[in-house]
Amino acid sequence: MGYNPEKPMEGRISDIGPRYYEEFHPPIIKANKGKWLWHEIPQPGVLMHKSETGDEVYTVRVGCARLVSIEYLREVCDIADKHCDGYLRFTTRNNIEFMVDSKEKVQPLLDTLASYGNNYPVGGTGAGVTNIVHTQGWVHCHTPATDASGVVKAVMDELFEYFTTMSLPAQVRIALACCLNMCGAVHASDIAILGIHRKPPMIDHSRITGVCEIPLAIAACPTGAIKPAKTEVDGKEIKTVKVNDSRCMFCGNCYTMCPAMPLADPEGDGIAILVGGKVSNSRTMPKFSKLVIPWLPNTPPRWPEVVSAVKKIVETYAADAKKYERVGEWAERIGWEKFFEKCEIPFTDKSIDDYRLAYDTWRTSTQFKYTNAIK
C-alpha cells in the first residue's frame, strides 16, 4: 500500500535524512577506514590505496555523462555486482568508481568495462582532464544562456586523450555553468565554460502583474538598473518596471525573481571562457577564474568555436607550463599578457574589470612584457 491522497498525513515519514553511509561501504573500505597509508596510480583511471592492515583497494574510475537513465544505472549495477560485490561510488566530479580488493580483479573489471564500447571510459586521474562539472542547460533549467550536456559531450570528445592519459603538467579542472548563477565551481576552475546573456530583459507587461513581486525584482538588480514604472494593459493602468539598458550587465537575477523579464536570446546568448581558477590550497591559495574570451556563439550541436578555444588553451598550457603548475599558476608566472599571446587569444576590453573592486586589477607598475598586443 503506497501513498493515499485521501489521508496524505497518515503514516507519513519525514526528516529521516539520507541513508547511513556505512551501509554502503564496500567491506574493504569499512575494514580500512582511517587506516590508509598511501596511494598510487598504477595506470590512468586506476588508483591503488594501501592500508596499514596490508590491504589494498583498487579503484577504477570511469567517466560518466552525469545525465543518465535508470537503464544506464542498472547496467552500472550489473558491472558492480559482477566485479565489486555490489558496491560502487560516485566522485565529487560525477565519475563512477568501481572498487576491488585485489590487483587480480582489476583487469577482468577493465575488460568488462571495455566490452561496453564507449560507455565506460577509464581515466580522469592524476595530471589530466577529468570529468567536466556541469549543470542543466536546455535540458531542464529556465535561465540558461547555453546548453550544458551537449557542450560537455563535444568538449570531452575533443579532450578525450587527456582523460585517459596523465600527460599534462597538473590536473586541469574544467567546469561549465549555463548562466551566471554558476551552479558549480566555475568561478574557481582551470578552465570555465560559462553561458552568458547579452541582451537586457524584455518586460512582459501583460504578465507582470501576479507573477512578479515588483519590489523584489527591483531589489534583485545589482546595478540598480530596474525602476518602478506604470503602463497601460488593455485599457487599465498597471504597476510594472522599466530597465535602464545601459546599466544592465545581463546577470539575469531579475528573471530569476520575475518570470515576466526574460532575457534569453539566440543571437545575444553565448559562451564566455574563463581560465586560471583553482580550489586546492596546494602551493598557491585558491584562485578565481579570469575572463579571457568574453563571448563565443551558441553553435549546437557541437559548439566548434568553444571546443577549439578550450583545446587551444589546454594544448598551449601542456606545451609551456612546468610540472605541477596549474593553469592559473602558469599564467601568473609567464604574465597574463604572455598568456594571451601564447594562446593566440585576441585581447578585448571585456577582460578589463569595470565592475566592483576593479581598480585592484589595473596594472600600477612599469613592469610588463612586450607581446604582439603592443603594436
Partner: protein, 426 residues
C-alpha cells in the same frame, strides 16, 4: 521508434565520450516520455534557447525544499514533459552505494518519474529529473517508506551537505568527513526541509587542504581538515623517492617523461614558504613556517603525512558571483577539533552562532558571505566572539580609514566647541 526527428542531437551520439543522447534514446524505448525530452532539446538546439519555464511552488507536504518545479513552454507539443519537476534526493556521505539501493531507486523512478537522473547534482544530491506534480507525493512516500531515504534541500534552506570521501579511502583525511557530513545533516533536518533563512546556506566537508569537494569555493561553512603539529616524515621513504624507487606524486604524472624525480626541484623549490631543505641526506621541515599547503605531501605520499594533532580549519562565506562577484570562504577558525566524540559540539555551536546573527541581520536573498561583507570582517568577528588574528587576512589594510569607537578614545567624542574656541580663536 523515434517520436521526434533529432538530426542535431544525433550528432552527439558519435565520439569517445559517453553520449547522453544515445542513453536517453535507449531509455525512451521503455519510457516514451523521454522522446519528449529529446524533442524539446532538439528544438532548443534549433532555436538556441531554452524552452523551460519558471517552476512556481511545487513540493511535498510539510517541506519547503527538495523539489524544483519545472514546466515546458510547449506542453501541447511535448506532453510527456509538461510537468518536469526535479526531486533532489539526499545522497549518502561520499556517495558510496549498494547496487541494491540503486536498483530500488531506479524502480521507484521508473514507476513515478521520467527515468532520467543526474548522478549527481553540483551540490551533491541525487537528481531525479522530471516528475509530474501528482507523482511527487507518491514518489516521496515510496522513497521514505520503501527506501528509508529522504529528500535534499532547495530554496532558502540549509542545502544538502556534501563531503570528500575522506578517511574512507584517503590517507590524508584529518577528520571523519563522512560522519561529520552525516551528523550535521541529521542534526539539521528541519533547517534542510523548511525554509527559515534569508537565502540558501551550504556546508561542505573536505578532509584536507586539497579540498576535493571544493568546499572553500562553494560553501557558506567550509570545514577543511588540517593539523597543527609537525608533518610526519619517513626518512627511509624519502630516500626511496630520491633513488627513484617510488613514483613522484603517486604516479600522477606518469603519462609524460618529466625526467628523474628531483626532490629539490619538485618539492623543496615548490614549497611556497621555503621551509624545507636537505640536511645530510635527510629532508628537514621548519614546521613553524609551514602553511600546510599539502604540496610536499601530495608529491611524496609514502614519505610525508599530515601531523598527528588533527582537526579542521573553518572558512565562512563562499558563494557564486550573484550579486557582487564570487567569494571564496574566509578563514575564520584556524583550528577546531571536529569529533564525533563530543558530537561535533564546537562546530555546531559555531554554525548556530552564525545563524543566530544572519537570520536576524541578513537581507532577503543575501548570502551569509554578503552579510559578512556588509558588516565588515572586524564586526563579524566581534559578533562571533572571536579574537581578530593576522591569520584572518592576507595583508593588513592599506587605507587609514579606521572606524574608531567612542569608548576606545579617551575623553569620548562629546566636546564643547565653545571651550575649544577659547584656546583656538576662529
Amino acid at each position: 521508434m523515434a517520436k521526434h526527428e533529432t538530426p542535431l542531437l544525433d550528432e552527439l551520439e558519435s565520439g569517445p565520450w559517453p553520449s547522453f543522447v544515445s542513453d536517453i534514446k535507449r531509455q525512451a524505448e521503455s519510457k516514451p516520455e523521454c522522446w519528449d525530452i529529446l524533442g524539446v532539446l532538439e528544438l532548443s538546439y534549433e532555436d538556441r534557447i531554452t524552452h523551460w519555464k519558471h517552476g512556481g511552488i511545487v513540493g511535498v507536504f510539510g517541506y519547503g525544499g527538495g523539489v524544483v518545479g519545472r514546466y515546458v513552454d510547449l506542453p501541447k507539443r511535448f506532453p510527456g514533459v509538461e510537468h518536469f519537476h526535479t526531486m533532489r534526493v539526499n545522497q549518502p556521505s561520499s556517495k558510496y552505494y549498494t547496487t541494491k539501493f540503486l536498483r530500488q531507486l531506479c524502480d521507484l523512478w521508473e514507476k513515478h518519474g521520467s527515468g532520467m537522473t543526474n548522478m549527481h547534482g553540483s551540490t551533491g544530491d541525487i537528481i531525479l529529473l522530471g516528475c509530474r506534480t501528482e507523482e511527487l507525493e507518491p514518489m516521496f512516500w515510496d522513497l521514505t517508506h520503501e527506501l528509508n531515504q529522504d529528500l535534499g534541500g532547495s530554496g532558502s534552506n540549509l542545502r544538502t551537505p556534501a563531503n570528500c570521501l575522506g578517511q574512507s579511502r584517503c590517507e590524508w583525511a584529518c577528520y571523519d568527513t563522512e560522519e561529520a557530513c552525516y551528523h550535521l545533516t541529521m542534526q539539521y533536518q528541519d533547517e534542510l526541509h523548511r525554509p527559515a533563512f534569508p537565502y540558501k546556506f551550504k556546508f561542505k566537508f573536505s578532509g584536507c587542504p586539497n579540498d576535493c569537494v571544493a568546499a572553500i569555493a562553494r560553501s557558506d561553512v567550509a570545514v577543511i581538515g588540517t593539523w597543527r603539529d609537525d608533518i610526519q616524515i619517513d626518512q627511509a621513504a624519502v630516500k626511496e623517492y630520491i633513488a627513484g624507487n617510488y613514483p613522484g606524486n603517486g604516479g600522477a604524472h606518469s603519462g609524460r617523461d618529466w625526467g628523474k624525480f628531483d626532490i629539490q626541484k619538485e618539492v623543496i623549490d615548490l614549497c611556497p614558504t621555503e621551509c624545507m631543505w636537505m640536511e645530510d641526506g635527510e629532508l628537514k621541515i621548519d614546521n613553524s613556517e609551514c602553511t600546510r599547503c599539502m604540496h610536499c605531501i601530495n608529491v611524496m605520499p609514502r614519505a610525508l603525512r599530515p601531523g598527528k594533532d588533527k582537526g579542521a580549519t573553518i572558512c565562512v562565506g563562499a558563494k557564486a558571483p550573484i550579486l557582487d562577484g564570487a567569494q571564496f570562504a574566509t578563514m575564520i577558525v584556524p583550528f577546531m577539533k571536529v569529533d564525533k566524540a563530543n558530537d561535533f559540539e564546537e562546530l555546531i555551536d559555531f554554525i548556530e552562532k552564525i545563524w543566530d546573527w544572519w537570520m536576524v541581520e541578513g537581507k532577503n536573498r543575501e548570502r551569509c558571505g554578503e552579510t559578512m561583507q556588509r558588516f565588515g570582517l572586524p564586526e563579524f568577528l566581534r559578533i562571533m566572539g572571536l579574537e581578530p588574528l593576522p591569520q584572518h587576512i592576507k595583508e593588513p589594510r592599506s587605507n587609514p580609514y579606521v572606524f574608531w569607537k567612542e569608548e576606545e578614545v579617551p575623553g569620548g567624542w562629546e566636546r564643547d566647541v565653545v571651550e575649544f574656541r577659547k584656546k583656538h580663536a576662529a
